[in-house]
Amino acid sequence: MKRWIGGLIVAAVVAACAAPGGGLPYQMSGGEIRQPLASGVPDAERGRKILVSREANCILCHAVPETGERFFGNLAPPLSGVGKRSTAAQMRARLVDPLAFNAESIMPAYYRVEGLHRVAEPLRGKPVLSAEQIEDVIAYLLTLQ
């Protein structure tokens, strides 16, 4: 979506970003990222393990009883049934940058690396999850029907 304003091309709504960590570039549009971030075959079981891992720690905030874990936070809605509510494209956009949905969100961006402050030195410039891991997590979320 491009508009002419005083001779300048302004790209609105579509944000195209070079991907961090060597993944594929992505385009967010209308709350969706349609193209997978990685080309491999995603694996839902790997996704489940990532979801409960220290790195992603989705269960700090979300209850996901289907994972078989015992403790869950309640800062966010349970993810049960999320595979019915949303598409892979919507989940991908959410994981890449939750602030695109809600500027006040407390959910960390799992793939965006710009605009962060005081990041611990070894993590600087690195996304929380790799492109492949994001796709695995999405594959798992889609099983939550």
Binding site: I106, A120, K126
Partner: protein
């Protein structure tokens, strides 16, 4: 980003978010593990140290009188150095200047003991820091840090301690993030720890760079937290999960 500073409403001490076991320990000096550090601090109070061979008591006599209400007013700008100083810093200043002794390491049992012993003399008194021309810039830096997202998790203190207190982060109930019971005995640490140690744990949690204990960043935050907790009373020495 520098939002207007505000206090949580209703203001609640962290002990109100703690489980029954922790509350019982904090409320009973005979079973509180934190009292072991107080006892240690009380003993150190009258032990001569350094080249001066003076003890704290040589100059300050009975802490129960001379230290009453002192910690409730900290952190404070020291008139000598013109720097924001907390109780730990002030004690170390007395160690080096007045006792001619080596400063005590942050979070050492000795410094925790003295800090807890001095803090106990304000227990039950209202937290009472005044923001004035001397400490306003410290206050503003602390305030801005509190409301600014940081770390790989991109969260600010306010996201957890203003908007989500009472909710669960995995299996921890989030409190309003007040400093009024510190230093505390934390069951998870199996030892006593300073407020700065606790703050570093929150920085670690959001995967941010850890400011050193005693650093200007943490002192500024400590001042903002004290302002924000006005209306609560000092609960030193606390107990936490």
């Amino acid at each position: 980003m520098a939002a207007d500073a505000r206090r949580p409403d209703p203001l609640k001490s962290g002990i109100e978010f703690s489980g029954a076991e922790v509350r019982a320990l904090q409320q009973d000096d005979f079973s509180s593990p934190a009292m072991l550090w107080v006892t240690r601090g009380e003993k150190l109070w009258s032990e001569p140290a350094g080249k001066s061979e003076k003890s704290c008591a040589s100059c300050h006599q009975d802490a129960r009188a001379s230290m009453k209400g002192v910690s409730a007013k900290y952190p404070k700008v020291d008139p000598g150095t013109a720097k924001l100083t907390n109780i730990e810093g002030r004690i170390n200043q007395c160690r080096t200047q007045h006792q001619q002794a080596a400063p005590l390491r942050y979070d050492s049992d000795e410094l925790l003991g003295l800090t807890a012993y001095v803090g106990l003399q304000s227990r039950g008194m209202p937290v009472n820091v005044a923001i004035d021309t001397q400490n306003r810039s410290n206050f503003e830096r602390g305030r801005d840090m509190f409301y600014t997202r940081m770390g790989q998790m991109n969260l600010a203190c306010t996201h957890c301690h203003d908007r989500n207190f009472g909710r669960k982060l995995l299996n921890d109930t989030i409190s309003q993030g007040h400093g009024n019971p510190y230093p505390v005995y934390r069951l998870e640490w199996q030892t006593m720890g300073s407020l700065h140690r606790r703050l570093r744990a929150c920085f670690f949690g959001v995967r941010a760079e850890l400011p050193p204990a005693g650093s200007p960043d943490l002192l500024d935050l400590e001042l903002f937290l004290a302002w924000r907790s006005q209306g609560l009373t000092v609960e030193t020495p606390g107990v936490r999960k």
